[in-house]
Point group: C2
Chain length 426, copies 2
């Protein structure tokens, strides 16, 4: 049964704690990466056989395979994919930034350009964690950013095929090339390139412990989005909230993963008890009830706080991935929420709405990293470049200050590079 | 003597190669981090004595020490600091972003907020690499971002004091608290907190191999700016450029570090030879001539290309930290520069102008990471948070699609969380 903790009666650590699994796979992953760097495609095929049980002739997904996938999924599902993609595009289009230029002083022009990356790599996990929604969420921002080529990789099934729903989502979102490779080996291929898989500039997408470790190890040679942990929901609800809705929302997160975290904070002990009972009632009806049960035991929690203000304070300290505000006037609280990946306002806004459909991204910071990390966005697929232009006269005016600063730092060569230009006309 | 390589006559690898030092300090750094997490301030004091030769009573820099520093530096230098800080503020103020809100469909509000981080940590190296310019460049964007508290740490000198120029820069830029701690131990303190040093959300700033490794190891528990490598300049110059200016610019970078990289690309063999001779003439006159000489031998290079278009292509492949365009119409080339941290346009724009004064940041991606990384900016000190609000009617409209998507992914709990709201009114 989900635990009820009363604020003030239990230690802060107990309120804030969440169990996060750690796996020591560093050396295995390092070996796989070295192997892929050395043996390229051959290593990718070897691991596809070893880990995925698939013997591959070629790593590339062909246009015919994509056409076939489009025919295998229902037209209804393609319709839903397209509606969701439209909403995701509408939201992410607003993230596109312009450069700027400043020309306030005579002869001085400085500015910043926004430049899309040449190539992005989207990793899509296989098995039961193969989510077409993630394909949309990871690919569309790259597309809107103007990335020149978008590569997707995903592990093959035993027969060498890819889940048609995944391929359909990739087609709707606009992947340029798709490869059959998963795990640490796919991350290595994206980071360093092989004969088939081109080297990319940024790798995004969730994955298991091997994928997470591989992203950590290639970080620096390539940019990565984040190291994603188990999914998290935090629901703040007042006493007027329907306990069945609260329970359903907590369970929607719990069914993801046995280490997922589902927390309710409320100022009503009555609601706490009603939700506790309701979870027990709903749990057995879920298709993934064993997973959800384990998550509730591991990281489920109902915290009873004196006030909703206190609830917000606790939420900020937890810095959850998803935060629901099931209260009367949810916008009153928005300003006070400093640390959360995505905020769901009001009683008619279950997290699932954001997972699939509303438009904001569902690739979000977990494990408290919302303190300093952001949802995946168009920003992840661009970089900035600065520029400076001075005329000869503008340089002459600035030269004494620049040279003075350089000499203070003992860098006389820096001073010389400026002064040599004031001594000679051209 | 700096080498001259003729495009087409040498392999691409030779043109693109740059030697980047690697140090295997992983286990030493891991030990230091574990020690700081366990022993806090006591560990910081122990390492200050061991590595910096300083016996410290307290780790905190007092207001009196800062006042004394302001009196120790010249008023002229404070004037230069203030002018530079003004230019840096003007540029970075333009990077401040607004959130957005979309309300295009009845009952649907979605948006993105930009939220400053609670606390940032600025690392400032000691010794000959103690640059007040870096204090300005790292601190001012955090200040403009609206970070609530800015912490600075820097290693003490043997007598326990801090270089007054560093403290003066910190005062001008607006550090909130300053601590005497350097190396991997300072990074550990910023990442996890000690009795004196508060835990921060983001660590920025350059440092030696131990600092770089420590930043890599704490990444994930905290956000970091980048792993900075040796500094780099790439000058593209046509035959009408003064060879003395080219040589001075290459040497201004070479004097930083024996592994710094200084590369000229030109379409004129005459200029190549003149710059080669000029470097030999200027080198002995530098105060740091030994360092510069080593850098020129290690990573100095003059590449002769057939055309300036080819020069730009090579520059994009190198993706340098600093790129000078010493040509007649430099803005004509700006569009073609895809990968460079900072671009210096025209013959009167030496890199030193950007290092100290013009306003754009001087903390820039090195080692080819300009492919995917950006100059330090206000963006480094904020994070985004999304929000979604749906009315009951809006949810009812979206419910079939959301539930359909969830069922496709086998997540019936997700579907339930939406459908339970359409079944019951509240």
């Amino acid at each position: 049964m989900i635990r009820i903790l009363k604020c003030g009666e239990v230690a802060d650590e107990d309120i804030l704690a969440r169990a996060i699994p750690t796996a020591d796979v560093g050396s295995v992953v390092a070996e796989i990466i070295a192997d892929v760097r050395k043996n390229g495609d051959a290593a990718l095929k070897k691991y596809a056989e070893k880990f995925d049980g698939a013997r591959l002739e070629t790593l590339t997904v062909t246009p015919a395979e994509i056409e076939a996938a489009m025919a295998q999924v229902t037209p209804e599902f393609i319709g839903i994919l397209e509606k969701a993609a439209g909403n995701i595009r509408a939201f992410h289009s607003r993230q596109v930034r312009n450069g700027f230029i400043i020309n306030d002083e005579p002869g001085v022009v400085i500015g910043q350009k926004i430049i899309p990356m040449d190539r992005a790599g989207i990793y899509v996990p296989g098995g039961t964690a193969a989510y077409p929604s993630t394909v949309l969420m990871d690919l569309i921002p790259a597309k809107i950013a103007g990335v020149r080529e978008i590569i997707m990789t995903t592990p093959p099934r035993r027969d060498g095929s890819i889940d048609p729903a995944i391929l359909a989502a990739a087609r709707v979102a606009g992947a340029d090339r798709i490869f059959k490779s998963g795990g640490a080996q796919a991350i290595a291929a994206l980071a360093y390139g092989t004969e088939s898989v081109p080297r990319v500039d940024k790798i995004v997408g969730p994955g298991n412990a091997f994928v997470a470790e591989a992203k950590k190890q290639v970080f620096g040679a390539v940019s990565i989005d984040m190291i994603a942990g188990p999914s998290e929901i935090l629901v703040i609800a007042d006493g007027r909230t329907n306990p069945r809705w609260c329970a359903a929302d907590l369970l929607s997160q719990a069914e993801h993963d046995t280490m997922a975290s589902a927390v309710l904070i409320t100022d009503s002990m009555a609601l706490a008890q009603a939700v506790q009972a309701e979870i027990e009632r709903q749990l057995p009806k879920l298709e993934r009830s064993e997973i959800a049960r384990a998550a509730i035991e591991n990281n489920g929690k109902i915290i009873v706080a004196d006030t909703l203000a206190k609830a917000v304070e606790i939420a900020n300290a937890i810095a959850p991935e998803h935060l629901e505000l099931c209260v009367d006037a949810p916008f009153d609280y928005l300003d006070g929420i400093r640390h959360a990946g995505s905020v769901f306002l009001g009683r008619h806004c279950p997290e699932a709405l954001g997972d699939y459909f509303a438009g904001p991204n569902h690739t979000l910071p977990t494990g408290g990293t919302a303190r300093f990390s952001s949802p995946l966005s168009v920003d992840d697929f661009v970089k900035k470049s600065q520029y400076i232009y001075y005329t000869r006269d503008a340089l002459r005016k600035a030269a004494p200050d620049v040279a003075g600063f350089a000499r203070q730092e003992g860098l006389t060569g820096h001073a010389r590079s400026v002064l040599s230009r004031t001594e000679e006309k051209q």
